[in-house]
């Protein structure tokens, strides 16, 4: 018989933790709902590669299933994968990590970030983050019991956080600086000098640096500076990365942390109680990605670079000034000249021309006046999207709001 009684209610109004209750919903979520009401949209709002994971990597994943690798692995990840990671980090960035004690394999770099923050934050500790930034940074800091301290970045300084701006916000409670370069949503890449300035601060004030380098492989004509490779930085940096962007493996949920043993031990403690181990199939695929994935990575980077040049040039042509992003796969043009704010712009563009971009404010208050356009999509889609945006801007000039 069906139970037709209403579900029992409770008088308690504190069923949801205050921390979660007051956490603002992701700015992207709101837009997602609007988007699903419009058909035939060209989306430049996606934050993942349009390539499917290279076949040899997928094949390694299915082979692992065929062979019955369906059990947990060691908490820290398969020893073979950690060895490959240590080798990879040394080969590309000249940083040395002990595969047994200094590397932890995680369920995507998102888990890695959460672990790092939870492992280091005491209630009320402050973590400094440049803004605009990846949507999860402030939220993850709050969930870990810390206080996100936002440092504005802008097009004048190419969206690279300035050491003086950080220094002005350092207090007794400051525990760490969280940086993510190459950056989502701006595409900014930090130079050695800029990174060195932040390293200097970390030393001067005895701060930790959490460096999210998920987009490290996607740089165009510049070198990626691996933060722990800077002198004296390995001992105070928690390096976070993964395979999602470099090897087009977002859905596999596989990432890693590299840091000194004391940090890895702390992170692993949380990881062993919460995640146990990263997906085994994804770990097997990641081993293959590291062993034989280079040529595919290079091919994808070359393809992104062509699309990047096309998008940046067209954005500037149609009157949306865009600083040149040297990394990731995003362009972050200014829409200030249109007189609209970024949410208005994104909403109208979607409804009138069926092109989706992400309002800059989804990435924090300092994203106002910008929108994020992802160029990890086909050249023909980019061209068509830019044609529509051109039309949209001309129209809005004729009929200003």
């Amino acid at each position: 018989m069906l139970n037709t009684k209403p579900a029992p209610t409770t008088a308690r109004d504190n069923l949801i933790s205050q921390k979660v209750d007051t956490l603002p919903p992701s700015g992207i979520r709101k837009f997602f709902d609007l988007l699903s009401s419009v058909e035939d949209v060209i989306s430049l709002g996606i934050g993942e590669p349009d390539f499917v994971t290279p076949w040899h990597i997928r094949e390694a994943g299915t082979y692992s299933l065929e062979k019955g690798y369906t059990m947990y692995t060691s908490n820290s990840g398969m020893p073979e994968l950690r060895r490959e990671l240590a080798h990879y980090l040394e080969l590309h960035y000249g940083v040395n990590y002990h595969p047994e004690h200094e590397i932890l394999v995680t369920t995507g770099s998102s888990e890695a970030l959460d672990l790092a923050l939870r492992a280091i934050i005491n209630p009320g500790d402050e973590v400094i983050i440049p803004n605009p930034c990846y949507v999860a940074y402030p939220a993850d800091i709050i969930l870990a019991g810390g206080m996100p301290i936002l440092v504005p970045t802008n097009e004048e300084n190419n969206f690279i956080v300035r050491a003086t701006d950080i220094e002005a916000r350092i207090t007794k409670r400051t525990k760490a600086i969280l940086i993510g370069y190459p950056a989502n949503p701006t595409g900014a890449v930090m130079s050695k000098k800029e990174a060195g300035a932040i390293a200097g601060l970390a030393k001067k004030y005895d701060l930790l640096v959490i460096s999210d380098e998920l987009y490290a492989r996607l740089v165009y004509g510049v070198e990626h500076i691996c933060f722990p490779s800077l002198p004296g930085m390995k001992e105070r940096t928690i390096l976070i990365s993964g395979f999602s962007k470099s090897h087009a493996m977002t859905g596999w949920r596989i990432g890693y942390v590299a840091a000194e043993r004391r940090f890895i031990q702390a992170l692993a403690k949380i990881h062993q109680y919460t995640m146990l181990s990263a997906p085994t199939m994804a770990q097997m695929a990641a081993i293959e990605a590291l062993r034989n994935g280079e040529s595919e990575v290079e091919k994808m980077v070359q393809e992104y670079n062509r699309r990047r040049r096309l998008m940046v040039k067209r954005l500037n042509e149609i009157g949306l000034p865009c600083f040149e992003p040297k990394g990731a796969f995003y362009a972050f043009p200014s829409i200030k000249a249109t007189g609209m704010n970024s949410e208005e712009f994104a909403e109208k563009l979607l409804l009138e021309e069926k092109v989706a971009v992400v309002p800059g404010t989804a990435f924090g208050p300092y994203g106002e006046g910008f929108v994020r356009c992802c160029y990890a999509t086909s050249l023909s889609s980019i061209e068509e999207a830019l044609r529509r945006m051109d039309r949209f801007i001309r129209k809005s000039r004729l009929n200003p709001a």
Binding site: S26, I28, F31, F32, L35, S36, V41, S43, G45, I46, G47, E48, D50, V52, Y134, V135, A136, N184, Q302, R306, R307, R309, L310, K313, A356, V358, A362, L379
Partner: protein, 160 residues
């Protein structure tokens, strides 16, 4: 420079303007390189890849292994040239292994191909033997996959 040709190989209709943006070189330079390549035979031709099965006009194709007697001074070249000039021959290669020439032939039907083999190819003096393999289904040709399943969008329209 290689990149210009890679782009054209993927899309022969890419304009010099588009290519110039993609490779970050002036249009005039891209145009010059393409002109030169057309002249010196680096670019042989611009063709479309047609999926004839969509029109129900698909040719029959066969891969033929040919064993030949090489000739003094010219090796396989003379006999290969003799063979590839037949219009039925679509592609021709000298290969290593148990036979010498691999040729792809096209015909409207099986009869056309078999008469080419029995009346033209096999009787050639320097041809020792032939083995004909009729192609049953095309999966991939020149890097392009045929019979692609309908494009499905696996990505969510907005992700962080």
């Amino acid at each position: 420079m290689k990149e210009i040709f890679e782009i054209l190989e993927q899309n022969a209709r890419a304009t010099p303007e588009q290519i110039s943006t993609m490779v970050d070189k002036p249009v005039s330079k891209v145009e010059k390189i393409i002109k030169q390549a057309e002249k010196d035979g680096t670019i042989l031709k611009y063709k479309a890849i047609i999926n004839w099965s969509k029109l129900d006009k698909e040719d029959i194709q066969a891969l033929i292994e040919v064993r030949v007697t090489p000739q003094r001074d010219v090796g396989f070249d003379a006999i290969a040239e003799h063979i590839y000039q037949f219009p039925e021959v679509y592609s021709a290669y000298v290969v290593s292994g148990t036979y010498d020439l691999a040729i792809l032939v096209k015909g409207k039907n099986m009869h056309e191909i078999s008469s080419f083999v029995t009346e033209k190819l096999a009787p050639l003096e320097r041809v020792q033997s032939t083995v004909t393999h009729f192609l049953l289904k095309r999966y991939k040709e020149n890097g392009e996959i045929f019979h692609l399943p309908k494009e499905i969008n696996r990505r969510l329209p907005i992700t962080p």
